[in-house]
């Protein structure tokens, strides 16, 4: 697949990940296009088992990490994987339009989604999009191919943040529409319907899909860096509340930290791959770190 520069794609982002992909490609050789194992381990659901090493096994498939940890020899067994479908659920609600200085969470999310879609498509996997535009659901089924990628990127480009995002509904619908086992990647700030969202995500897991959460945040909403009296206007509901930012600061920060910690804890406990990304982190680095972390993830069940 050619490296086409489309509007929503940040070449720098792609370059960074491509580098990662190339590096990963060196490890795994000779796999046909469409195989999930090469290069991009992060998105592959390794349905693998360990069996004790039998003489004659290809040392190539020895799990050295496990040997290092347990002092026992195991051979990795690979399962035939079909092409993976990744559904990206993107939060386009009003709260994602924050901050107003620098990249908003929404533009950041779009950048991430575009980069990932490109990579997924390049791998020969299928990528789909699930989001809302106003009250309407925006759905692109998970498909492969350059044309589909282009259409997806074009749709991403037209998206705007605003209104409310009914995360449980979107996630539930996305799960319904995923025919094969795949990965559901939810990119959001996850401010609303915390419990319901997590419940839906757990349901997706029960369907057998892999669920990844990329929670976006920004320094301003973590720290409330304002002086004196501020009148805060909710970007989604329009509600206003006046507060003394200086006085409120410590309590606010504690509350936000507690919220994020809770998200992380509960998500991980539920088996969701959770990652917190701040928009002041360069997108390529955030993706690299995330993908690397995913590579080192213990095997999925």
């Amino acid at each position: 697949m050619g490296r086409e520069v489309t509007g929503a794609l940040n070449p720098g982002v792609v370059a960074a990940i491509d580098g990662l992909e190339l590096a990963a490609r060196r490890i795994v050789e000779g796999l046909r296009a469409g195989s999930n194992r090469s290069p991009f381990h992060g998105f592959s659901t390794e349905f693998r088992q360990h069996r004790p090493y039998r003489a004659g096994d290809d040392l190539k498939y020895l799990d050295w990490k496990l040997f290092g940890r347990s002092d026992r020899l195991y051979t990795r067994q690979f399962q035939e994987t079909t092409n993976l479908a990744v559904m990206i659920a993107l939060d386009s609600s009003g709260s994602m339009a924050f901050p107003d200085i620098g990249p908003s969470k929404f533009s950041y999310a779009v950048t991430l989604a575009a980069a990932l879609a490109y990579l997924i498509a390049e791998q020969g996997n299928q990528v789909g999009l699930m989001t809302t535009a106003g009250d309407d659901l925006v759905y692109l089924p998970a498909r492969g191919g350059r044309l589909h990628l282009r259409a997806l990127l074009a749709r991403l480009e037209r998206l705007e943040a605003g209104g409310a995002f009914d995360a449980p509904r979107v996630i539930a619908r996305a799960a319904q529409l995923m025919r094969r086992r795949g990965i559901l990647l939810a990119i959001s700030d996850f401010y609303d319907a915390e419990e319901e969202t997590r419940r839906e995500l757990r349901r997706v897991l029960r369907y057998g899909h892999d669920v990844a959460m990329l929670q976006l945040t920004s320094p301003a909403e973590r720290e409330l860096p304002y002086d004196g009296q501020v009148e805060l206007e909710d970007l989604e509901s329009g509600a206003r509340r006046e507060a003394d930012a200086g006085e409120l600061g410590p309590r606010y920060r504690a509350a936000v930290a507690a919220f994020l910690e809770r998200q992380r804890r509960e998500s991980i406990a539920a088996g969701i791959d959770y990652a917190l990304v701040s928009v002041d982190t360069p997108p390529q680095r955030a993706l690299r770190d995330w993908l690397l972390r995913r590579e080192g993830r213990p095997a999925a069940r």
Binding site: F98, E221, Y226, E242, E247, L248, F259
Partner: protein, 450 residues
């Protein structure tokens, strides 16, 4: 309500200042869009509305204080001029008469001018403000003095210190003085005369006449005293007598001194009496001319009308015959014979009026002649009017009046002071309200947030 200083109202623009400070200083809560409010607790300061009202109240107080100060500067005048109690201080404009008549002696001693100055000083010190004008003509100085009084606050009094000679002032002069100013006329009592010396030569003796001044009402006496002996041709009265006549002539002059003569005598007139036996007598017959100098004629006229001389001459015994010609007859005997002649001649170095008694030196005529001459030479007004004609006290009293109540022109700051007081009161209230108000708001905010 009138305003003495309406331009001060321009100061109202200063009210814009606290308003601007209020508007700019007010920190409206900055509006900030935020993704979610779920973490924003109820920390909004509850007394917002109250603090806004409080701020408005403070703003109102400040603006009112400024308005009160501006009003004070505009100097309101609520009460009309006539109702004002007015300033009670007294201003005196004192005019001192410096005319010639004031150089005479005052009865109290010293010149009338000095006495007038003492009176003026006393009156000036007893007033709150005063000005002293010294004028040749008090009437001319009165308008200036009245103008000065008009510029003063409080009551005013015009004072004239003078001997008040007839004609110096009249009712019309005082009619121009505004009615609210008082008029006081202080008379300086004066006495006529001063000390004078008259030198004359009698024979080869020089006599000096010195007069002593008697207080007003008494006459002045002329006494003939021997001079220093120097023989000089002098102006003044020269008596020429033959050696056998000197005693008689001396006696005549002594006799003449008993006649009161008001001084001063005019010593600039050169007059001579030449007795029958004087050696110069014959020359007079021929050298004399008819007197034609003005003062001589004037003197002759007076002498002619002098009753003393006329009476003495009437009963005189003529011992010499009158020469024909230029001499003028001053007095005749009852029979019609000339008793005293007058001619003009140069004698003893001066062109003199020469009097020629045709009687004996020791006759009464010669004494009368000397007396008449002295009286005629007197510069003082006629004896009948030893005092100059003065304005009567009753007339002066009719012109006088006490000063009226204080003038409107004075600045009464009563209303302005009320306005200043109001401004200070408002500022004080603003100050008091400012302090605890803020503390209360802070406390309430803490309660609401905590």
């Amino acid at each position: 309500m009138t305003w003495l200083n309406p331009w001060a109202w321009a100061g109202l623009v200063a009210i814009a200042l606290p308003v601007l400070i209020h508007l700019l200083g007010r920190q409206p809560a900055r509006r900030q869009r935020f993704p979610t409010l779920r973490f924003i607790g109820e920390s909004r300061p509850l007394p917002t509305r109250r603090s806004r009202l409080h701020d408005l109240l403070l703003l109102g107080l400040r603006c009112a204080a400024i308005a009160a100060a501006v009003m004070a500067l505009a100097q309101p005048q609520i009460r009309r001029a006539a109702q004002r109690p007015g300033d009670q201080s007294l201003a005196r404009a004192i005019i001192i008469d410096r005319s010639a008549s004031m150089r005479r002696q005052a009865t109290a001693g010293g010149t009338a001018l000095a006495v007038a100055e003492r009176i003026a000083t006393g009156l000036g010190d007893s007033a709150q403000t005063h000005v002293t004008l010294v004028a040749e003509s008090p009437a001319a100085a009165i308008p200036g003095a009245a103008a000065w009084l008009a510029r003063q606050s409080g009551r005013g009094e015009l004072v004239v210190v003078s001997d008040f000679q007839e004609g110096a002032l009249d009712a019309a002069t005082f009619a121009e003085v505004p009615g609210r100013f008082g008029i006081r006329l202080a008379r300086v009592p004066v006495a006529p005369a001063d000390t004078l010396e008259v030198r004359s030569t009698l024979g080869d003796q020089e006599l000096v006449a010195r007069a002593t001044v008697e207080p007003l009402g008494r006459s002045s006496t002329v006494s003939w005293l021997p001079g220093n002996g120097a023989k000089r041709a002098t102006r003044g009265l020269v008596a020429l007598a033959g050696s056998d006549e000197v005693a008689a002539a001396d006696g005549a002059s002594r006799a003449a001194s008993s006649v009161p003569v008001p001084l001063p005598l005019d010593t600039t007139r050169a007059v001579a009496i030449v007795y029958p036996h004087a050696v110069e007598r014959p020359a007079m017959r021929h050298a004399g001319v008819t007197p034609h100098v003005a003062w001589m004629v004037d003197l002759l006229a007076r002498l002619r009308h002098d009753p003393l001389l006329a009476g003495a001459a009437a009963d005189a015994a003529v011992v010499d015959s009158a020469p024909p010609g230029a001499a003028v007859v001053l007095a005749r005997t009852r029979a019609g014979q000339p008793a005293v002649l007058a001619t003009e001649a140069t004698l003893k170095g001066a062109d003199r009026l020469v009097l020629l008694p045709l009687t004996d030196a020791k006759a009464l005529t010669s004494a009368a002649l000397i007396a008449a001459l002295s009286q005629s030479l007197s510069l003082a007004p006629p004896a009948a009017e030893q005092n100059p004609q003065l304005i009567a006290d009753s007339v002066l009293a009719s012109w006088q009046r006490p000063p009226g109540p204080g003038a409107v022109g004075g600045r009464d700051d009563a209303e302005a002071r009320w306005c200043w007081g109001l401004a200070l009161l408002l500022l004080g209230v603003e100050f008091l309200l400012r302090r605890p108000g803020r503390a209360a708001i802070d406390a309430e905010a803490r309660d609401a947030a905590g």
